[in-house]
Symmetry: C2
Subunit: 352 residues, 2 copies
C-alpha cells in the first residue's frame, strides 16, 4: 500500500484522519492543499511529510505558467516557504524541500527543464523512501528473535512513510516475513491515537498479532516482562548533541522506563531524519491545538475554562537508546561518530 | 461537597461517570445497586469505595425483615460477599467491610441493636474519612512551597473519598487555603480520563489553576522542570513488602520518570489504604473491559478484531517514593517500620 502517489500531474494521498474507519484517498493539484493536509495530520509521519512536501513542489512546477526560469524558481521558493511552515519539528520536511531546491539550483536550463527536474526529484524521493524503509527492516530484523514481543509508540509504519514497510514497523514486518514469530504491543498514543488507529490497522492488515494499551500502562507491561524490545521511529535526530531523538510525545517517557527495566530501546529511522546541522537548542517542539486533548469526536472531555498543554513531541537522550537502525546499518553509541561514518559510505543504488 | 450520603434509610451518591458534564446524584435503597455502582465506576476512588460498601451494609441492615440476630448476620454476610467481589484491588473496600463485620461480631444484642450498630459504624466510617482527609492535607501541605507546580494522576480528590478534600488533592487544597500559590498539572489518565474529567472539574471548582496533559507528556514536563513535586493517591499499600503502592495504571510509569529527573514523588493515603495483611504476590491487578480502551463515547477507535490490554492499576516500588502522607503524619522509608509505628500511635478523636 502507498500513502502518496503522483498520478498525471496530481497528487493522491491517503487521508490518515479517517483511519481506521475509512480508507479515503484525496486527489489534489494544489500545493496549498498538501500544506493543509500536513498541518491537519491528514498526512503525517516524518518520511511521509518529506515526500508530501516534495510532491507539493512538483505540483507547483507542473501547474506553473511561468514564462522564464527565474519566475518558476520564485514560485518554488514561495511554495517552499509555505511548506516549511506547516510543521516545525520533523526533519524530513526540511530535508526534502532542501533536496529539491538544491537539485534545481545545480541544474541549469529552461523552464521546462526545471519543471521536469523538480518532478523527477520528488518522485525519486518517494521511490527511494520505499527502498530505504525496506533496508531499515532488513537491517533491524537481525535484532528480532523468534517469539519476541515488540513494543512501539505512535505509528512508524507504511502510513508514516511513502508506503509498504515503514520504519519501526518495517523491522517487525521483515522479521515476520522471515518466519520469526513476532507480536506487538502498541501504545495507543494520545492525543491523536496513532497507535490505536493506525499501527493496529496496519499490523492487522499484515496479520501480525497486536495488542493496544493505554500509554500509562507501559511501565506495568515492562515490569511484567510482557515486552522484549521497544522500537520506535523518529521525527528528527540531532547529530551534534550525540543523537538526541525527537519523536512523538511519550517516547522519552517510555525510554526512561525501558532503561529502568533493562528492556532494549531501539530507534528506526532513515538518514534523512538525521539533522547534521542543528544544535539541540535550535529544535522547536511543536505545541498543537489544545482541542486535540480536550475534545474527542468533537465532544469536550475537559471542563470548559481548564487549559491544556499539548506538546506533539519530546526529546529522548541518546544514553537511553541501545541502537539506531538505519538503511545503511545499525549504529551504536557514540551515535555522532557512527552517523557521520554512515553518511560517508559509498552505497550502490538499491535495486528491488 | 459530598460523594455519598445516608438520608433517611437511603444512600445518595454522586454518579461520577456523568462528570464533568452533569452533576447527578443517584438515590438508592438496595445494596446491589451500590455494588453495581462500584463495579461500573459510578462510585470510584479507594476511600469512596470503602464508604460506599459500608453504606451498602447499612442498607441491608435498615431494610432487613430478619426475625432474629442470626438471620440478619447471615444477610450481612451474603451482602459482604457480593460487595467484596465488586473490585479486587482497592484495599479500603475490604477494610470497611471487615470493620463493620468486626464491630457487629463484638456487639451482642438483638436484631434492632445489630441494625443500629451497622448503620452507626457505616456513618462513622464516612465521617471519619472526611476528618482523615483533612488531616492528610494539613500534614502534606508542609511539603508544598509557595509557587509550586504539583503533578498528579487520576483523581485523588473529594470525588475519590467521602467528600470535601480528598487525599492527594487535599494537600494541594490546604496549601491553597494557607495562602500558598500552587498550581496543578493533571495527567488526563486514560482510559477513563479521571484526570481530565474529575481532577480538572474539582480543582476548577476550588479556583486552583490546573492544566491537563496527555499521560505520555509527563516525561517532557519533568524534563522541562515544569513540575516541582508529584503527588498521587493509592488504592492499596502493601506494608509487608516495604510499601509497594498499588494505584491507577500509569503511576508506576510516572514514579520511574520522576526518579530519573529527581522530582520528588509523594503518595497521599489514609491508613485504611495500608494493607498490613497481604503479601505482594496476593495482590490482584484488576483487568477491566477492553471496551474502556477500544471505545470512546461508544465509538470504536481501534480496528475490529484487535485486542486490548487494560490493567486498571500498577505497582510502584517503595524505592521510588519519597514519602507517604497519612492522617497521622508523613512517613519516610523504611515504610514498613514507620507504618507500624503510626498504627500504634494513641490518637485522640479529631474534632473539626
Amino acid at each position: 500500500m502507498r500513502t502518496i502517489l503522483w498520478e498525471d500531474g496530481k497528487v493522491v494521498y491517503l487521508n490518515q484522519r479517517k483511519l481506521p474507519k475509512q480508507l479515503e484517498y484525496v486527489c489534489c493539484d494544489d500545493y496549498q492543499r498538501i500544506a493543509k493536509a500536513i498541518k491537519t495530520l491528514e498526512i503525517r509521519g516524518a518520511p511521509a511529510i518529506g515526500v508530501a512536501a516534495a510532491m507539493g513542489l512538483a505540483l507547483v512546477a507542473y501547474n506553473s505558467r511561468a514564462k522564464g526560469r527565474e519566475e518558476l524558481l520564485r514560485r518554488l521558493e514561495q511554495a517552499s516557504c509555505v511548506l516549511r511552515k506547516t510543521r516545525p519539528t520533523a526533519y524530513n520536511l526540511f530535508w526534502a524541500i532542501d533536496r529539491v531546491n538544491t537539485k534545481v539550483a545545480s541544474t541549469p536550463g529552461t523552464v521546462e527543464e526545471v519543471r521536469s527536474t523538480v518532478i523527477a526529484e520528488a518522485l525519486a524521493i518517494g521511490k527511494e523512501d520505499l527502498q530505504t524503509n525496506k533496508m531499515i527492516g532488513i537491517n533491524g530484523a537481525s535484532l528480532i528473535e523468534d517469539g519476541d514481543v515488540v513494543g512501539t509508540i505512535c505509528n512508524a509504519g507504511w502510513l508514516a512513510t511513502s508506503g509498504e514497510y515503514g520504519t519501526a514497523l518495517s523491522v517487525i514486518k521483515i522479521a515476520h516475513e522471515q518466519g520469526k514469530r513476532v507480536s506487538v504491543i502498541a501504545l495507543e498514543t494520545r492525543p491523536i491515537l496513532q497507535g490505536a488507529r493506525l499501527t493496529a490497522f496496519e499490523l492487522k492488515q499484515d496479520k501480525i498479532d497486536v495488542r493496544v494499551i493505554p500509554d500509562g500502562a507501559i511501565g506495568y507491561c515492562f515490569s511484567k516482562r510482557m515486552i522484549d524490545k521497544f522500537i520506535c521511529g523518529a521525527d528528527r535526530i540531532i547529530v551534534s548533541s550525540g543523537g538526541h531523538v525527537i519523536n512523538k510525545v511519550g517516547t522519552n517517557t517510555v525510554s526512561i522506563v525501558a532503561k529502568h527495566y533493562k528492556i532494549p530501546f531501539y530507534v528506526a529511522a532513515p538518514l534523512s531524519t538525521f539533522d547534521f546541522n542543528s544544535s539541540l537548542k535550535d529544535v522547536i517542539i511543536e505545541e498543537r491545538d489544545p482541542r486535540e486533548v480536550a475534545e474527542i469526536f468533537g465532544r469536550r472531555i475537559i471542563p470548559e475554562g481548564v487549559s491544556v498543554f499539548n506538546p506533539a513531541f519530546d526529546i529522548t537522550s541518546p544514553r537511553l537508546v541501545e541502537a539506531i537502525i538505519t538503511e545503511r546499518g545499525i549504529i551504536h553509541p557514540p551515535f555522532k561518530k557512527e552517523a557521520e561514518n554512515l553518511l560517508k559510505l559509498k552505497i550502490r543504488p538499491l535495486n528491488f
